[in-house]
Amino acid sequence: MAEQNCLVANDWICGEYLRSRSHELTDAVVQHIWITAISVVIGLLVAFPLALLARRGRHFAGPVLGLTTVLYTVPSLAMFSLLLPLFGLSAALVVTGLVLYSLTILVRNILAGLEAVPQEAREAAKGMGYGPARLLWEVELPLALPALMAGLRIATVSTVALTTVGSLVGKGGLGNLIEDALPSFFKAQVLTASVLCVLLAVVADLLLLGVQRLLTPWTRISGRPAPAAKAG
Protein backbone atom coordinates (compact mmCIF):
# COMPACT_ATOMS: atom_id res chain seq x y z
CA MET A 1 0.00 0.00 0.00
CA ALA A 2 2.76 2.40 1.00
CA GLU A 3 4.43 1.76 -2.34
CA GLN A 4 1.24 2.50 -4.25
CA ASN A 5 0.91 5.76 -2.36
CA CYS A 6 4.25 7.15 -3.41
CA LEU A 7 2.88 7.64 -6.93
CA VAL A 8 -0.21 9.37 -5.56
CA ALA A 9 1.79 11.44 -3.07
CA ASN A 10 4.20 12.45 -5.88
CA ASP A 11 7.35 11.54 -3.91
CA TRP A 12 10.79 12.21 -5.34
CA ILE A 13 11.86 8.60 -4.93
CA CYS A 14 9.29 5.95 -5.74
CA GLY A 15 9.92 2.21 -5.95
CA GLU A 16 6.52 1.60 -7.49
CA TYR A 17 7.38 4.00 -10.31
CA LEU A 18 10.56 2.03 -11.10
CA ARG A 19 8.55 -1.22 -11.10
CA SER A 20 5.51 -0.15 -13.08
CA ARG A 21 7.38 1.95 -15.66
CA SER A 22 10.48 -0.22 -16.05
CA HIS A 23 9.59 -0.89 -19.69
CA GLU A 24 9.29 2.82 -20.48
CA LEU A 25 12.56 3.55 -18.66
CA THR A 26 14.42 0.81 -20.53
CA ASP A 27 13.15 2.07 -23.89
CA ALA A 28 14.27 5.61 -23.06
CA VAL A 29 17.73 4.44 -21.93
CA VAL A 30 18.13 2.34 -25.10
CA GLN A 31 17.15 5.30 -27.30
CA HIS A 32 19.50 7.55 -25.36
CA ILE A 33 22.40 5.14 -25.80
CA TRP A 34 21.98 4.57 -29.52
CA ILE A 35 21.51 8.25 -30.33
CA THR A 36 24.65 9.09 -28.33
CA ALA A 37 26.68 6.19 -29.76
CA ILE A 38 25.79 6.88 -33.41
CA SER A 39 26.48 10.60 -32.96
CA VAL A 40 29.90 10.05 -31.40
CA VAL A 41 30.92 7.42 -33.99
CA ILE A 42 29.89 9.63 -36.91
CA GLY A 43 31.54 12.59 -35.17
CA LEU A 44 34.79 10.66 -34.96
CA LEU A 45 34.56 9.59 -38.63
CA VAL A 46 34.03 13.22 -39.72
CA ALA A 47 36.54 14.73 -37.29
CA PHE A 48 39.43 12.51 -38.32
CA PRO A 49 39.71 13.66 -41.96
CA LEU A 50 39.07 17.24 -40.83
CA ALA A 51 41.98 17.01 -38.38
CA LEU A 52 44.20 15.57 -41.13
CA LEU A 53 43.15 18.45 -43.38
CA ALA A 54 43.81 21.03 -40.65
CA ARG A 55 47.27 19.53 -40.18
CA ARG A 56 48.25 20.31 -43.74
CA GLY A 57 48.87 23.96 -43.00
CA ARG A 58 47.58 27.17 -41.52
CA HIS A 59 45.33 28.03 -44.48
CA PHE A 60 43.40 24.79 -43.83
CA ALA A 61 43.58 24.86 -40.02
CA GLY A 62 42.08 28.36 -39.72
CA PRO A 63 38.80 27.68 -41.54
CA VAL A 64 38.35 24.16 -40.05
CA LEU A 65 38.91 25.25 -36.44
CA GLY A 66 36.98 28.50 -36.98
CA LEU A 67 33.94 26.74 -38.44
CA THR A 68 33.78 24.08 -35.73
CA THR A 69 34.09 26.79 -33.05
CA VAL A 70 31.24 28.80 -34.57
CA LEU A 71 29.09 25.63 -34.67
CA TYR A 72 29.85 25.06 -30.99
CA THR A 73 28.74 28.60 -30.12
CA VAL A 74 25.24 28.01 -31.54
CA PRO A 75 22.94 27.01 -28.62
CA SER A 76 21.57 23.46 -28.86
CA LEU A 77 17.95 24.58 -28.99
CA ALA A 78 18.74 26.80 -31.99
CA MET A 79 20.90 24.14 -33.65
CA PHE A 80 18.15 21.52 -33.53
CA SER A 81 15.58 24.07 -34.71
CA LEU A 82 17.74 25.23 -37.62
CA LEU A 83 17.98 21.61 -38.80
CA LEU A 84 14.19 21.16 -38.64
CA PRO A 85 13.46 22.17 -42.27
CA LEU A 86 16.11 19.68 -43.48
CA PHE A 87 15.25 16.64 -41.36
CA GLY A 88 11.75 17.13 -39.94
CA LEU A 89 10.88 15.57 -36.58
CA SER A 90 13.39 12.73 -36.78
CA ALA A 91 16.26 11.13 -34.88
CA ALA A 92 18.51 12.13 -37.82
CA LEU A 93 17.99 15.77 -36.79
CA VAL A 94 19.20 15.10 -33.24
CA VAL A 95 22.13 12.96 -34.44
CA THR A 96 23.23 15.63 -36.95
CA GLY A 97 23.13 18.34 -34.27
CA LEU A 98 25.11 16.22 -31.84
CA VAL A 99 27.70 15.32 -34.52
CA LEU A 100 28.23 19.02 -35.29
CA TYR A 101 28.81 19.74 -31.58
CA SER A 102 31.22 16.85 -31.08
CA LEU A 103 33.42 18.07 -33.96
CA THR A 104 34.89 21.01 -32.02
CA ILE A 105 36.34 18.87 -29.25
CA LEU A 106 37.28 15.89 -31.45
CA VAL A 107 39.06 17.86 -34.20
CA ARG A 108 41.04 19.90 -31.65
CA ASN A 109 42.12 16.84 -29.69
CA ILE A 110 43.05 14.70 -32.70
CA LEU A 111 45.02 17.61 -34.13
CA ALA A 112 46.81 18.20 -30.83
CA GLY A 113 47.61 14.48 -30.59
CA LEU A 114 49.00 14.30 -34.12
CA GLU A 115 51.05 17.46 -33.67
CA ALA A 116 52.56 16.13 -30.43
CA VAL A 117 54.05 13.08 -32.22
CA PRO A 118 57.84 13.45 -31.81
CA GLN A 119 59.59 14.39 -35.03
CA GLU A 120 62.24 11.68 -34.34
CA ALA A 121 59.55 8.97 -34.39
CA ARG A 122 58.39 10.22 -37.77
CA GLU A 123 61.92 10.45 -39.14
CA ALA A 124 62.76 6.95 -37.90
CA ALA A 125 59.66 5.47 -39.56
CA LYS A 126 60.40 7.28 -42.82
CA GLY A 127 64.00 6.00 -42.64
CA MET A 128 62.66 2.48 -42.30
CA GLY A 129 60.74 2.98 -45.55
CA TYR A 130 57.22 3.68 -44.17
CA GLY A 131 54.91 5.35 -46.68
CA PRO A 132 52.55 8.18 -45.61
CA ALA A 133 49.56 5.86 -44.97
CA ARG A 134 51.55 3.33 -42.97
CA LEU A 135 53.26 6.15 -41.06
CA LEU A 136 49.83 7.51 -40.10
CA TRP A 137 48.28 4.19 -39.07
CA GLU A 138 51.22 2.49 -37.39
CA VAL A 139 53.19 5.36 -35.89
CA GLU A 140 51.28 8.64 -35.64
CA LEU A 141 47.81 7.32 -34.77
CA PRO A 142 48.94 5.10 -31.87
CA LEU A 143 51.02 7.95 -30.46
CA ALA A 144 48.09 10.37 -30.82
CA LEU A 145 45.67 7.90 -29.21
CA PRO A 146 45.80 9.24 -25.61
CA ALA A 147 44.87 12.75 -26.80
CA LEU A 148 42.21 11.34 -29.15
CA MET A 149 40.68 9.25 -26.38
CA ALA A 150 40.69 12.22 -23.99
CA GLY A 151 38.71 14.18 -26.60
CA LEU A 152 36.40 11.23 -27.23
CA ARG A 153 35.59 11.00 -23.51
CA ILE A 154 34.76 14.71 -23.24
CA ALA A 155 32.68 14.57 -26.44
CA THR A 156 30.78 11.47 -25.27
CA VAL A 157 29.96 12.88 -21.83
CA SER A 158 28.72 16.16 -23.37
CA THR A 159 26.72 14.26 -25.99
CA VAL A 160 24.95 12.14 -23.34
CA ALA A 161 23.85 15.36 -21.61
CA LEU A 162 22.90 17.17 -24.84
CA THR A 163 20.79 14.26 -26.13
CA THR A 164 18.10 15.29 -23.61
CA VAL A 165 17.45 18.46 -25.65
CA GLY A 166 16.39 16.14 -28.49
CA SER A 167 13.08 15.80 -26.63
CA LEU A 168 12.23 19.01 -28.49
CA VAL A 169 11.46 16.76 -31.48
CA GLY A 170 10.50 13.73 -29.38
CA LYS A 171 13.86 11.97 -29.84
CA GLY A 172 15.66 12.80 -26.64
CA GLY A 173 15.94 9.41 -24.90
CA LEU A 174 15.64 10.12 -21.19
CA GLY A 175 14.87 13.75 -22.04
CA ASN A 176 11.49 12.60 -23.41
CA LEU A 177 10.58 11.22 -19.97
CA ILE A 178 11.59 14.52 -18.34
CA GLU A 179 9.50 16.50 -20.82
CA ASP A 180 6.47 14.20 -20.41
CA ALA A 181 6.67 14.50 -16.61
CA LEU A 182 6.67 18.33 -16.54
CA PRO A 183 2.99 19.16 -17.15
CA SER A 184 1.92 16.96 -14.20
CA PHE A 185 4.94 17.87 -12.00
CA PHE A 186 5.75 14.14 -11.77
CA LYS A 187 8.76 14.36 -9.44
CA ALA A 188 9.79 10.67 -9.44
CA GLN A 189 9.99 10.57 -13.24
CA VAL A 190 12.00 13.81 -13.55
CA LEU A 191 14.46 12.75 -10.84
CA THR A 192 14.83 9.14 -12.06
CA ALA A 193 15.44 10.19 -15.67
CA SER A 194 17.92 12.90 -14.60
CA VAL A 195 19.88 10.54 -12.36
CA LEU A 196 19.93 7.84 -15.06
CA CYS A 197 21.25 10.40 -17.53
CA VAL A 198 24.16 11.37 -15.27
CA LEU A 199 24.85 7.68 -14.54
CA LEU A 200 24.91 6.98 -18.27
CA ALA A 201 27.53 9.70 -18.75
CA VAL A 202 29.68 8.33 -15.91
CA VAL A 203 29.45 4.74 -17.21
CA ALA A 204 30.30 5.83 -20.77
CA ASP A 205 33.30 7.79 -19.46
CA LEU A 206 34.59 4.80 -17.46
CA LEU A 207 34.06 2.41 -20.40
CA LEU A 208 36.08 4.68 -22.69
CA LEU A 209 38.78 4.95 -20.04
CA GLY A 210 38.94 1.14 -20.04
CA VAL A 211 39.15 1.05 -23.85
CA GLN A 212 41.94 3.62 -23.71
CA ARG A 213 43.89 1.46 -21.22
CA LEU A 214 43.46 -1.60 -23.47
CA LEU A 215 44.51 0.26 -26.62
CA THR A 216 47.55 1.97 -25.10
CA PRO A 217 49.16 -0.64 -22.83
CA TRP A 218 52.52 1.17 -23.02
CA THR A 219 51.18 4.18 -21.10
CA ARG A 220 50.52 1.93 -18.10
CA ILE A 221 54.13 0.89 -17.60
CA SER A 222 55.04 4.16 -15.91
CA GLY A 223 51.88 4.01 -13.82
CA ARG A 224 52.41 0.48 -12.50
CA PRO A 225 54.72 1.22 -9.53
CA ALA A 226 52.11 3.54 -8.01
CA PRO A 227 49.75 0.87 -6.52
CA ALA A 228 52.75 -1.11 -5.20
CA ALA A 229 54.06 1.97 -3.45
CA LYS A 230 50.64 2.56 -1.95
CA ALA A 231 50.49 -0.99 -0.60
CA GLY A 232 53.98 -0.71 0.88
Binding site: T73, A78, V157, A161, T164, V165, F185, S194
Partner: protein, 224 residues
Protein backbone atom coordinates in the same frame (compact mmCIF):
# COMPACT_ATOMS: atom_id res chain seq x y z
CA UNK B 1 13.20 27.66 -49.81
CA UNK B 2 9.79 28.17 -48.21
CA UNK B 3 10.94 27.96 -44.61
CA UNK B 4 13.65 30.59 -44.98
CA UNK B 5 11.23 32.96 -46.71
CA UNK B 6 8.64 32.27 -44.03
CA UNK B 7 11.19 32.96 -41.32
CA UNK B 8 12.17 36.22 -43.01
CA UNK B 9 8.50 37.25 -43.19
CA UNK B 10 8.13 36.37 -39.49
CA UNK B 11 11.18 38.42 -38.54
CA UNK B 12 10.11 41.46 -40.58
CA UNK B 13 6.54 41.48 -39.24
CA UNK B 14 6.34 44.19 -36.56
CA UNK B 15 3.57 42.43 -34.63
CA UNK B 16 5.91 39.53 -33.86
CA UNK B 17 8.23 41.89 -31.99
CA UNK B 18 5.58 43.57 -29.84
CA UNK B 19 3.93 42.59 -26.58
CA UNK B 20 4.54 40.08 -23.80
CA UNK B 21 5.32 37.21 -26.21
CA UNK B 22 7.08 39.42 -28.77
CA UNK B 23 10.70 39.02 -29.71
CA UNK B 24 11.75 42.33 -28.10
CA UNK B 25 10.45 41.33 -24.67
CA UNK B 26 11.88 37.79 -25.02
CA UNK B 27 15.28 39.19 -26.03
CA UNK B 28 15.18 41.50 -23.00
CA UNK B 29 14.40 38.56 -20.72
CA UNK B 30 17.22 36.55 -22.28
CA UNK B 31 19.78 39.34 -21.85
CA UNK B 32 18.57 40.12 -18.32
CA UNK B 33 18.83 36.57 -16.94
CA UNK B 34 22.10 35.94 -18.83
CA UNK B 35 23.71 39.16 -17.58
CA UNK B 36 22.62 38.70 -13.97
CA UNK B 37 23.74 35.06 -13.98
CA UNK B 38 27.13 35.89 -15.51
CA UNK B 39 27.75 38.62 -12.92
CA UNK B 40 26.72 36.40 -10.01
CA UNK B 41 28.77 33.46 -11.31
CA UNK B 42 31.84 35.66 -11.83
CA UNK B 43 31.47 37.16 -8.35
CA UNK B 44 31.29 33.65 -6.88
CA UNK B 45 33.84 31.78 -9.00
CA UNK B 46 36.61 34.25 -9.81
CA UNK B 47 37.70 35.22 -6.25
CA UNK B 48 37.75 31.54 -5.23
CA UNK B 49 39.66 30.45 -8.35
CA UNK B 50 42.17 33.29 -8.18
CA UNK B 51 42.78 32.72 -4.47
CA UNK B 52 43.19 28.94 -4.88
CA UNK B 53 45.48 29.55 -7.87
CA UNK B 54 47.55 32.05 -5.88
CA UNK B 55 48.10 29.66 -2.95
CA UNK B 56 48.34 26.66 -5.32
CA UNK B 57 45.69 24.48 -3.70
CA UNK B 58 42.41 22.90 -4.79
CA UNK B 59 43.43 21.80 -8.29
CA UNK B 60 41.36 18.61 -8.06
CA UNK B 61 38.27 20.66 -7.24
CA UNK B 62 38.76 22.95 -10.22
CA UNK B 63 39.21 20.06 -12.68
CA UNK B 64 36.45 17.83 -11.31
CA UNK B 65 33.94 20.66 -11.20
CA UNK B 66 34.17 21.19 -14.95
CA UNK B 67 33.83 17.45 -15.57
CA UNK B 68 30.69 17.33 -13.44
CA UNK B 69 29.36 20.42 -15.22
CA UNK B 70 29.63 18.61 -18.55
CA UNK B 71 27.90 15.42 -17.39
CA UNK B 72 24.80 17.09 -15.93
CA UNK B 73 22.12 17.90 -18.53
CA UNK B 74 20.94 21.54 -18.42
CA UNK B 75 17.43 20.41 -19.32
CA UNK B 76 17.32 18.00 -16.35
CA UNK B 77 18.40 20.68 -13.85
CA UNK B 78 15.82 23.15 -15.16
CA UNK B 79 13.14 20.44 -15.08
CA UNK B 80 14.05 19.54 -11.49
CA UNK B 81 13.61 23.21 -10.51
CA UNK B 82 10.22 23.26 -12.22
CA UNK B 83 8.82 20.42 -10.09
CA UNK B 84 9.77 22.27 -6.87
CA UNK B 85 8.07 25.41 -5.45
CA UNK B 86 10.95 27.34 -7.08
CA UNK B 87 8.85 27.40 -10.27
CA UNK B 88 6.75 30.23 -8.81
CA UNK B 89 9.72 32.54 -8.27
CA UNK B 90 9.86 34.33 -11.62
CA UNK B 91 13.34 34.44 -13.14
CA UNK B 92 14.99 32.84 -10.09
CA UNK B 93 15.04 29.18 -11.29
CA UNK B 94 16.58 30.24 -14.63
CA UNK B 95 19.20 32.44 -12.97
CA UNK B 96 20.17 29.70 -10.48
CA UNK B 97 20.54 27.13 -13.29
CA UNK B 98 22.59 29.56 -15.39
CA UNK B 99 24.90 30.33 -12.44
CA UNK B 100 25.40 26.60 -11.78
CA UNK B 101 26.51 26.03 -15.38
CA UNK B 102 28.61 29.22 -15.64
CA UNK B 103 30.69 28.55 -12.51
CA UNK B 104 32.68 25.49 -13.78
CA UNK B 105 34.25 27.10 -16.90
CA UNK B 106 34.98 30.33 -14.99
CA UNK B 107 36.55 28.53 -12.05
CA UNK B 108 38.56 25.97 -14.01
CA UNK B 109 40.00 28.42 -16.55
CA UNK B 110 40.92 31.08 -13.98
CA UNK B 111 42.56 28.45 -11.77
CA UNK B 112 44.50 26.87 -14.64
CA UNK B 113 45.53 30.35 -15.85
CA UNK B 114 46.95 31.18 -12.41
CA UNK B 115 48.80 27.87 -12.16
CA UNK B 116 50.24 28.15 -15.68
CA UNK B 117 52.16 31.31 -14.81
CA UNK B 118 55.83 30.47 -15.30
CA UNK B 119 57.33 29.47 -11.94
CA UNK B 120 60.61 31.22 -12.77
CA UNK B 121 58.76 34.52 -13.31
CA UNK B 122 57.19 34.16 -9.86
CA UNK B 123 60.58 33.33 -8.33
CA UNK B 124 62.05 36.41 -9.99
CA UNK B 125 59.21 38.61 -8.70
CA UNK B 126 59.70 37.27 -5.19
CA UNK B 127 63.44 37.83 -5.54
CA UNK B 128 62.72 41.46 -6.38
CA UNK B 129 61.02 41.69 -3.00
CA UNK B 130 57.37 41.69 -4.15
CA UNK B 131 54.83 40.88 -1.45
CA UNK B 132 52.08 38.26 -1.99
CA UNK B 133 49.59 40.98 -2.90
CA UNK B 134 51.95 42.71 -5.35
CA UNK B 135 52.85 39.38 -6.92
CA UNK B 136 49.16 38.61 -7.40
CA UNK B 137 48.17 42.01 -8.84
CA UNK B 138 51.24 42.80 -10.95
CA UNK B 139 52.49 39.39 -12.10
CA UNK B 140 50.00 36.55 -11.75
CA UNK B 141 46.79 38.40 -12.68
CA UNK B 142 48.11 39.97 -15.93
CA UNK B 143 49.67 36.66 -17.02
CA UNK B 144 46.55 34.67 -16.14
CA UNK B 145 44.31 37.21 -17.91
CA UNK B 146 43.99 35.36 -21.27
CA UNK B 147 42.76 32.19 -19.55
CA UNK B 148 40.38 34.14 -17.30
CA UNK B 149 38.85 35.72 -20.42
CA UNK B 150 38.65 32.31 -22.13
CA UNK B 151 36.68 31.11 -19.11
CA UNK B 152 34.41 34.15 -19.25
CA UNK B 153 33.74 33.55 -22.94
CA UNK B 154 32.87 29.88 -22.54
CA UNK B 155 30.73 30.74 -19.52
CA UNK B 156 28.88 33.39 -21.55
CA UNK B 157 28.29 30.96 -24.43
CA UNK B 158 27.06 28.38 -21.93
CA UNK B 159 24.76 30.90 -20.23
CA UNK B 160 23.16 32.10 -23.47
CA UNK B 161 22.60 28.47 -24.55
CA UNK B 162 21.18 27.46 -21.17
CA UNK B 163 18.85 30.47 -21.10
CA UNK B 164 17.32 29.29 -24.39
CA UNK B 165 16.72 25.80 -22.99
CA UNK B 166 14.77 27.45 -20.15
CA UNK B 167 11.96 27.83 -22.70
CA UNK B 168 11.61 24.03 -22.89
CA UNK B 169 10.39 23.99 -19.28
CA UNK B 170 8.11 26.99 -19.82
CA UNK B 171 10.40 29.77 -18.56
CA UNK B 172 11.05 33.03 -20.42
CA UNK B 173 13.74 34.02 -22.92
CA UNK B 174 14.20 33.96 -26.69
CA UNK B 175 13.82 30.18 -26.74
CA UNK B 176 10.08 30.73 -26.17
CA UNK B 177 9.73 31.83 -29.80
CA UNK B 178 11.08 28.42 -30.84
CA UNK B 179 8.97 26.35 -28.42
CA UNK B 180 5.85 28.39 -29.27
CA UNK B 181 6.54 27.63 -32.95
CA UNK B 182 6.80 23.92 -32.17
CA UNK B 183 3.49 24.01 -30.28
CA UNK B 184 1.66 25.55 -33.26
CA UNK B 185 3.54 23.49 -35.92
CA UNK B 186 4.88 26.77 -37.33
CA UNK B 187 8.25 25.77 -38.82
CA UNK B 188 8.88 29.31 -40.10
CA UNK B 189 8.59 30.69 -36.57
CA UNK B 190 10.82 27.90 -35.19
CA UNK B 191 13.45 28.78 -37.79
CA UNK B 192 13.13 32.53 -37.15
CA UNK B 193 13.53 31.99 -33.40
CA UNK B 194 16.52 29.72 -33.96
CA UNK B 195 18.20 32.36 -36.14
CA UNK B 196 17.66 34.95 -33.38
CA UNK B 197 19.07 32.66 -30.67
CA UNK B 198 22.08 31.66 -32.79
CA UNK B 199 22.78 35.29 -33.74
CA UNK B 200 22.57 36.38 -30.11
CA UNK B 201 25.11 33.71 -29.10
CA UNK B 202 27.49 34.72 -31.89
CA UNK B 203 27.13 38.45 -31.09
CA UNK B 204 27.82 37.81 -27.39
CA UNK B 205 30.89 35.73 -28.31
CA UNK B 206 32.08 38.44 -30.70
CA UNK B 207 31.52 41.21 -28.13
CA UNK B 208 33.57 39.31 -25.56
CA UNK B 209 36.40 38.74 -28.05
CA UNK B 210 36.43 42.51 -28.69
CA UNK B 211 36.31 43.25 -24.95
CA UNK B 212 39.19 40.83 -24.44
CA UNK B 213 41.35 42.68 -26.96
CA UNK B 214 40.38 46.05 -25.50
CA UNK B 215 41.20 45.15 -21.90
CA UNK B 216 44.24 42.94 -22.43
CA UNK B 217 47.00 44.07 -20.06
CA UNK B 218 49.70 42.80 -22.44
CA UNK B 219 48.31 44.88 -25.32
CA UNK B 220 48.37 48.02 -23.18
CA UNK B 221 52.00 47.43 -22.33
CA UNK B 222 52.92 46.99 -25.96
CA UNK B 223 51.36 50.30 -27.03
CA UNK B 224 52.75 52.21 -24.04
Amino acid sequence: MGVVEGAWTWLTTGANWAGENGATHRLGEHLYVSGVALLVASALALPVALYLGHIGKGGALAVNLSNVGRAVPVFAVLALFMVTPLRNSGYLPTVIALVLFAVPPLLTNAYVGMRQVDRSVIEAARGMGMSGGQLFLRVELPLAYPMIMTGLRSAAVQVVATASIAAMVGLGGLGRIITAGFNTYDTAQVFAGAVLVALLALVVEGALVALDRLLSPLRRRRTA
